[in-house]
Amino acid sequence: MIDLSLMADGGMGWLDASGPESHLVLSTRIRLARNLAGYPFQGRSGDAERERILREVEAAARDTVLLGRAVTFRLDRLDEADRQLLHERHLVSKELAGLDPGARVRYGAALLHQDRIGVMLNEEDHLRLQGLCSGFALAATYAEVDRLDGELGRRLGFAFHQEFGYLTACPTNVGTGLRASVLIHLPGLVLTKEVSRVLQGLAQVGLTFRGLYGEGSEVVGNFFQLSNQTTLGKSEGELLDHLARVVRQVIEYEEQARQVLLQSAPTVIEDKVWRAYGLLRYARNLSFDEAMNLLSGVRLGVGLGLIPGIGMYTLNKLLIQSQPAHLAVAENLPLGDPALALRRAALVRRVLEDDVERRG
């Protein structure tokens, strides 16, 4: 079994709800796509080349400050539950974890991780440098990833083109190779039915949205990942500024929607969030989707000041721990076991009960 205790915070520092706007924004994530010059891209490289890429990057990383103490997780040597667990923790993509339907984990697929940053190896590109911080923190997250890029770039040879910039396997990532995403909770906009208008507006300003787990994932619990669509023609700073401006606007819309709800239907909203809390507190059987939706309701209630005392950190922990692979690993049950829904309900009850006792 995977030993997450090797990571100081289990790779979950981003959950601590300490960052700016953390009542609405769960986390900020930035990745830079890089490829090593002299190796074919992922699709045309064999196992031997992937192994060499892995070793070369590992050796270079050992010599850096930011990844000098990094833990290496060889995804290709982990079983499915552990790979999914790393994915649920937002540390590896679905592709790297080999979780797409019909897909297998690729030889040499690995994650180097230390504190809030890491590198995915042998993903669609040879390297995907990534940083994950709590709350709405684009500049701080980028600063860390950029420093890592500098440290690794001086030790490795990255594929770079004078006109096109950093070269990637897919032209959608070329140039800066930068994808910044902000994971934001928008129940107010969903309840006031404004969310589709806002999301459509994103496309018009060169941004896109995804579900809780990034590319190709569904929207659950009213969580949306907002990110830049284009990666070339603008500097890293311009891309980040643009995303930051739009996210601030979306935060404002969400706050307005919540005020509208409170003013036009205060009793309906109060009933809704307390029902969600009541179900979580006493239910005996919870599917993941139901848990997510109820947690979304409670989160809204806490944000509106209707449910006092529960910390966002507690809700964030529940969000992570009630995910299928987290539960399966913690409870020592196989993935997909029907008993997981019972264990999930028990976990949620226990955490919320502790929370009540702690507050007296």
Partner: protein
């Protein structure tokens, strides 16, 4: 994943709907999706499929699609099929059609972000710059043991 409507065929259309304040995703096979008036995804296996198909049309001749990258042996037809390039040299080998594609995707073809500097200075200079940068990072991250070591190496 099987189709949620017929429960028989493989779901290929994943439709996210926002209705009555609920965000739902329905997974449908091609036939059930068509019955509901939903277009199946564009030809090609990747989101780039339609873009690439369009480029293939404007490209016209098969010849252009068959030319091979000297770096990895991949053809532009391979790229059209998979949406992924074979190696860094493909970017030079297929520069013209890729420039066209990049312009459509990003609205520009010229990278204006950070530039990668790998060479240009001597090895000794690079090493010294690198030591200095590592020292700065080590201090910033309060890794004082490493900082002391780096400072000693810089002095030598």
């Amino acid at each position: 994943m099987t189709c949620e409507n017929c429960g028989e065929r493989e779901a290929v259309v994943h439709l996210t709907q926002i209705e009555d304040a609920q965000v739902t995703t329905v997974h449908l096979c091609e036939r059930c999706a068509a019955e509901r008036g939903v277009e199946p995804p564009p030809a090609g296996k990747t989101p780039l499929g339609s873009f690439l198909a369009a480029i293939g049309d404007s490209e016209g001749t098969d010849e252009a699609g068959q030319a091979k990258c000297p770096g990895c042996g991949a053809s532009f037809a391979n790229f059209r099929e998979t949406g992924r390039l074979g190696c860094a040299e493909c970017w030079t080998a297929f520069e013209a059609p890729l420039r066209d594609l990049v312009r459509r995707l990003h609205g520009s073809t010229v990278h204006v972000g950070e530039r990668y500097v790998s060479a240009g200075s001597t090895r000794a200079e690079r090493t010294e710059d690198d030591l200095r940068e590592r020292l700065r990072l080590a201090i910033e991250t309060e890794n004082f043991e490493l900082a002391a070591d780096l400072r000693d190496r810089l002095r030598k």
